[in-house]
Subunit: 516 residues, 2 copies
């Protein structure tokens, strides 16, 4: 047991995870001299011009998937995904056990996996466990801890060889019989396939699961035949209603609009609000409102942005169409407008998670980012943020690009109400840390803007603006405490059920089993 740079107690060794490396600071760890991992060298029969097999079971057999192996999935079909359940159901029927599941994220639709966890088909999960599986894990429903990695930390783990993928199953909205895949077309179109690229490149075997076979060569191509070994056609890879929502909506709640207004004022007061500004806002109600306010401010001041990054919504597509940003860099298309745009507009670029956020490549897109608006379930007086666990200690959310954008962006803003229900979102010490305070620059609540003292430059810039709504951290915390009243501490057992990696592979925190 030792304390990491944030003072969190981390065991030297965690059963089912292995030896831990302690978090040393956001930019402290450099990789050892070494070479990127690689998938198996393949050699196919050159007379075979069709990689299709009969069904999922035939694909599993052909892939060589066996008990004890690691299987990966991407989550662009979100809560509409049929592919994870389909593959794991088939594995169960085929008697395959003890799998390590390496999805980018699981959702409510994957609740069905609980039976496969209980029966031993799945013995380990490395990936975000949103919702019911997170609840199961929190209550000790798995023997070994879930490992959480950010969108950049996951490809880092693969590229560096920390995680080796035996078989990658790629939900493919469009594919041809020789394995060229694209996400922008077909009845299950999801837009960008950003999270799947690394899996395709590094897995020993890659299976494309599609419900839309097109003549060879299908184009545009996101992931090419060059690394796809098996193609399998199924009636449907997902439910369109769960894959993409309609346009995500700007909040109408006056309190949330006020927070967004404040965040926008902070951006405008910062040195980054100028020609060529780049930003990421995601899909939440507040961040979307910030985008709307920024749009007005940009038009008013006559400035144009360079690019919007990350998960892309119709709001960003509008900015692109209006010329208020020059490019969109899309790792995940959140709504129908984004899916349509990435399929049509060459200035709307599909990027891989590696390109987006991996700290161990020649330079990820997050490094080029000026401003990011993020949320959190709680932040503390050291500006550390928690996005993984809820107030009751349950591990219900993934990291997403939180760590990566916070580390990369020049201005990282957490924008959220001071309380959610009666739970304070600003506290003395977060229950678990996802992102360290050293990379978070400001917290914006309905009571004003609190700036990290590390960013004296920003504080000075904001102080120079007449009437700028600054609020000191102490005031924020005491106000939150006063409003929430005393809160019950989370009661946990010793057993670790979750390991939260910082994007460089060190352990920033662990999450314990909840007491019943």
């Amino acid at each position: 047991m030792a304390k990491n740079a944030l003072g969190r107690e981390i065991p030297d060794f965690i059963e089912g995870y292995g030896k831990t490396k302690l978090f040393q600071g956001a930019f402290a760890l450099k990789p050892e001299e070494g070479y990127r991992a690689g998938g198996k060298i393949r050699c196919v029969d050159s007379t075979c011009t069709d990689k299709r097999v009969r069904d999922i079971k035939a694909a599993i057999t052909a892939s060589g998937l066996k008990s004890g192996m690691t299987v990966s999935f991407h989550h662009h079909l979100r809560n509409g995904d049929f592919v994870v359940n389909m593959v794991i159901d088939a594995c169960a029927e085929m008697g395959i056990k003890n799998l390590t599941l390496f999805p980018t994220a699981l959702f409510g639709v994957h609740k069905k996996l609980i039976e496969h966890i209980k029966s031993g088909v799945i013995s380990r999960i490395m990936g975000s466990v949103n919702g019911p599986i997170g609840q199961l894990v929190s209550e000790g429903g798995m023997d070994v801890p879930v490992v959480l990695r950010s969108h950049g930390g996951r490809p880092r783990a693969v590229v560096s060889g920390d995680v080796h993928i035996d078989v990658a199953f790629i939900a493919a909205p469009t594919a041809d019989q020789y394995g060229n895949i694209c996400g922008t077309q077909g009845k299950s179109a999801c837009g960008s396939l950003g999270y799947a690229f690394t899996d395709a490149q590094y897995a020993d075997c890659v299976v494309a699961v599609t419900d839309n076979i097109q003549p060879y060569p299908a184009a545009p191509v996101s992931i090419s035949q060059l690394s796809v070994d098996i193609v399998v056609e199924v009636p449907s890879i997902g439910d369109p209603a769960g894959i993409v929502s309609g346009t995500t909506q700007v909040t109408r709640d006056p309190l949330r609009l006020l927070i967004a207004k404040y965040a926008s004022e902070l951006i405008e007061a910062s040195p980054y609000f100028k020609e060529g500004i780049s930003f990421q806002t995601g899909a939440g109600g507040i961040p979307l409102a910030v985008t709307a306010f920024m749009r007005e401010a940009m038009i008013k001041k006559g400035i144009k942005g360079s690019f919007g990054l990350g998960g892309i919504t119709g709001y960003f597509v509008e900015l692109l169409k209006e010329g208020l940003v020059e490019r969109l860099m899309d790792v995940q298309s959140f709504d129908l407008e984004a899916v349509r745009s990435i399929g049509e507009n060459p200035r709307h670029i599909e990027i891989s998670a590696d390109w987006y956020a991996n700290p161990w490549n020649s330079g990820a897109a997050v490094n080029m980012l000026d401003v990011v608006i993020l949320g959190a379930t709680e932040v503390d007086t050291n500006f550390n943020a928690n996005v993984n666990t809820e107030a009751d200690g349950a591990l219900l959310h993934g990291i997403g690009g939180h760590q990566d954008t916070a580390a990369g962006a020049k201005l990282t803003i957490i924008a959220q109400p001071l309380l959610r229900g009666r739970i304070p979102c600003v506290t003395d010490s977060v229950y678990s840390v996802t992102t360290p305070g050293e990379v978070i620059d400001a917290i914006v609540t309905e009571y004003g803007i609190t700036i990290n003292p590390r960013r004296k430059d920003l504080l000075d810039a904001c102080s120079a603006v007449k009437g700028f709504p600054l609020v000191p951290m102490e005031e924020l915390v005491s106000r939150a405490h006063k409003m929430s009243g005393p809160t019950d501490p989370v009661e946990t057992e010793d057993r670790i059920i979750g390991v939260v990696e910082w994007r460089d592979g060190t352990v920033i925190d662990v999450v314990h089993k909840l007491k019943k």
Copy 2:
């Protein structure tokens, strides 16, 4: 010394090349179980948002390039390229010696390298040596043999770890300051950057050399920032007149038109002339004429093709526009029309050499190919083809995609006049073998069509066509001999100056030093 499967004498060990593996047959060798190689793991300072350095020398210093290392280049700028000379001149001035040059191909414009070979800056070349450097090598001007690989064999060698690239220099018609590269825009636009992809992915350090910096993120992106370490801006990367020609021309020579007509008849008589046919014809006068004849035949018969592959010309662009092919898969854009089209038309796809032709991936595009029209300096009675050496034994030409398309296509046609000048192109035994007869299906000359007896199916199909111009191999050879008269044998010394690899890395032939 041992004989390979074609009876060619190959030493067990060749100085400057190493231990040889004997060619065993076109599809005989499978890779050993193993993993793909990888470039170095990188980790950049996330606050650096500009990878540019001052000049080429600063780029060389920053790349860590040292004497004895391997540097790679791509040849899309063809005879207009300034980058190879620029980099090697700078290396020479910096005192760097003993480099292994790993270009995809060298041209006349690189004649200047001869001084660097003589002074020891360059000690080894692995790549096609078209023209003056080939002449130098043939006369014994280098201490170790040149290694020739096909467009698919080269990425195979990199991916399998046979060749490790220390620094890749990528001539980039467009780039941004963070290393996103594209070939379709800028004053030095060359279209596809197909040959550069593998280098970018596998080199320890990647330098983009550009004369057109665009704001971040430049889009479209061929090769992304994710693997580009250094960007350097220079006044010009090439001479547009040498980079792309105007439209390459169909032959007007009646004899060559007759050959093209015969080739077209062969294709029409084959089982592949049907809806969805795919083909590669390259840029020569005869193959272009075949394309023109096929176009007519397709219109007449009302069939449409699926894709055109390989080096793309304006003729193929016309077929795409007319809907006579659905897609173009472009590894090299041969003329201005092709460069324009790949920049505009999403159905004109940029493919890497790995995707195009590597025999050791999950399945290359050549495997999907129906028909390819190729040339050769000579073919023999076993249908073996030589494209590397001239009649005088000089090693003047690269392999290109010859081996790969011949191995992949269902119908491989060599179309050429029986004699070039007074030199017979059909002979008892080729001087050196590039592509084995087992993957060549027919030879078409002005005297008719000679079909490989291995392809009884094809012979039967053609014999069924009334008046089909079949001509037996024996007749072809005796006619060639009669017309050419006795030819002088090439006189060589023992020393090996060239090693010709089959696409799987085995040695299919060696080329000896010419006697003075």
